[in-house]
């Protein structure tokens, strides 16, 4: 029995090692698998992975409308105070007051790109964008207001 275990150990070991070598050998012989991006030579055709996280943005649709309700969940979720939401009250046609955002202040220089704010947002108003060329000469340029001027909340989002 001992001998049988011993031999099967050796066979299993060798075959698993060979499996690994087959995989790496496949990569070695298939240059189409290479994923290196030769930035900045290929700046125009750069392909980034979908999950690449470069900065937080707030998408707006063609009517300049976003879906942020100003609930400040993202502000609370952020571990390092990157986000500051300033709210205001809009008056609806029926004469009721409704909370809305005045400014979504985002300080890129403090953001660790941890994605917690995006996960916390109940109405999917913010997301991560794959922009990474963030260098500027003036630090204040990194403090951004994400809601575009004149934008308003989309109909039907509470």
């Amino acid at each position: 029995m001992f001998l049988k275990d011993y031999i099967s150990d050796v066979v299993n070991g060798v075959s698993s090692l060979l499996k690994g070598m087959r995989k790496t050998g496949y990569y070695f012989t298939h240059s189409k698998e290479i994923i290196t991006e030769q930035y900045p030579d290929n700046r125009a055709t750069l392909k980034l992975a979908d999950r690449f996280k470069g900065e937080v943005v707030m998408p707006h649709d063609e009517n300049n409308e976003h879906t942020c309700t100003g609930c400040t969940a993202c502000e609370l979720a952020c571990p390092n105070g990157t986000i500051k939401i300033i709210t205001k009250f809009d008056i609806t046609p029926e004469g009721k007051k409704k909370k809305a955002i005045d400014a979504f202040i985002y300080r890129l220089e403090m953001c660790t790109l941890c994605n917690l704010c995006v996960a916390a947002c109940p109405s999917d108003a913010i997301k991560m964008a794959p922009n990474f060329e963030h260098s500027v000469f003036d630090r204040s340029k990194l403090t951004k207001i994400l809601n575009k001027p004149g934008s308003k909340i989309k109909e039907g989002i509470e």
Partner: protein, 358 residues
């Protein structure tokens, strides 16, 4: 036909007509030393570049591609950088041993070059105990490593050196047994005779199963002996910074680095000589015309091709397998490789006595 053999012969004849035999011999020694140093420098540059390219391809990257076309001058640039760096000696190190160690490692690598047959009749020293010489001298490199580790006066260096010692001493055994299988089949320790015995087929084919086992064992054992991944515990970056050469910088570090690659070349050259026929072209039994065509490819190309194939296999190992733990390393040697090689040697002896090989 122009071959390395005829070139050496012409040079020797010319020297003998001009000088007395003693002076001619001295001049030949000088030429050989210069050639060996050139070979070392070239090997260092080529193998490091090759390793980086192979690693890149295996990890789906491009590798060095900025210095020169396709990055071919990358290693030359690196060497220039290393030459210009300061070779620091730590204050509390044992200065003499610390500075001696890289040279000991290098010298061992140089000594090993002597009995290797690079092409037909192109060999520095065809000593009649070639294989014995190789296995004894190659185990000396551990002294250089231990020296470096001890003299550095650094815990990481010392740990790396001790690990390396344990490793080389253990794996020397199974490498030795693998080499012995070929000695048993050939009945000679002389490199030129071992190559000549493979005229009608390489031992890997002629000796079938037991020689294939021995070949695999040899490759595993020499990977461990040259301290390469997955057996690179001696310099395990994640645990020991850089192991025994942590304190070395500049050219002294470069010597260690170079010695590692030279050693890989040498063990692969020996493996190619013993198992794949050295410079012997691929000959199959009695296929006269096929053998004849193969003979047209120069023997030096055969030798280099086989050696670089084995080097590629060892690089392939390095970029595929994860590093072993110390106890796993010793388990592998003492519980698996050693018993298997002992049994295998017995099998080969039986086969050799009964004449069951081709």
């Amino acid at each position: 036909m122009l071959s390395l053999e005829s070139i050496t012969k012409t040079i020797q004849d010319w020297l003998l007509t001009k000088f007395s035999p003693q002076i001619a011999l001295t001049l030949e020694c000088v030429i050989v030393i210069l050639l060996a140093i050139t070979l070392f420098a070239m090997l260092g540059l080529v193998l490091v570049l090759l390793e980086r390219k192979v690693a890149a391809r295996i990890q789906i990257r491009l590798g060095p591609n900025r210095v020169g076309p396709g990055g071919i001058f990358q290693t030359a640039a690196d060497t220039l950088k290393l030459i210009m760096k300061e070779g620091l000696t730590p204050d509390s190190a044992d200065k003499f041993l610390f500075n001696l160690a890289p040279f000991v490692v290098m010298m061992v690598a140089m000594l090993l070059l002597a009995p290797i047959a690079f092409a037909k009749n192109f060999q520095i020293w065809d000593i009649n105990i070639g294989v014995l010489y190789i296995s004894s001298v190659s185990s000396l490199s551990v002294i250089g490593i231990l020296m470096a580790g001890w003299a550095s006066n650094n815990k990481y260096s010392l740990l790396g050196a001790m690990r390396s010692g344990a490793q080389i001493v253990s794996y020397e055994l199974s490498a030795g047994f693998a080499v012995l299988t070929i000695v048993v089949l050939t009945g000679s320790l002389q490199i030129s005779e071992i190559v000549a015995a493979q005229e009608n087929g390489w031992w890997l084919f002629k000796g079938h199963i037991p020689v294939i086992i021995a070949f695999v064992l040899y490759i595993i054992a020499v990977t461990a002996e040259t301290n390469r991944a997955p057996f690179d515990l001696a310099e395990a970056e994640s645990e020991l910074t850089a192991g025994f050469h942590t304190e070395y910088s500049g050219m002294k570090f470069a010597l260690f680095f170079l010695a590692e690659y030279i050693n890989i070349f040498i063990v692969c050259a020996i493996g190619a000589t013993l198992f794949l026929g050295g410079w012997m072209p691929l000959h199959i039994g009695h296929w006269e015309s096929f053998n004849h065509i193969m003979d047209y490819i120069p023997s030096s190309i055969w030798f280099m091709g086989k050696t670089f194939f084995l080097i590629f296999v060892i690089m392939w190992f390095r970029w595929t397998f994860p590093r072993l733990r110390v106890d796993q390393l010793l388990n592998l040697e003492w519980k698996y490789l050693l018993p298997i090689s002992l049994f295998n040697l017995l099998l080969v002896t039986v086969i050799a006595i009964m004449g069951w090989y081709f």
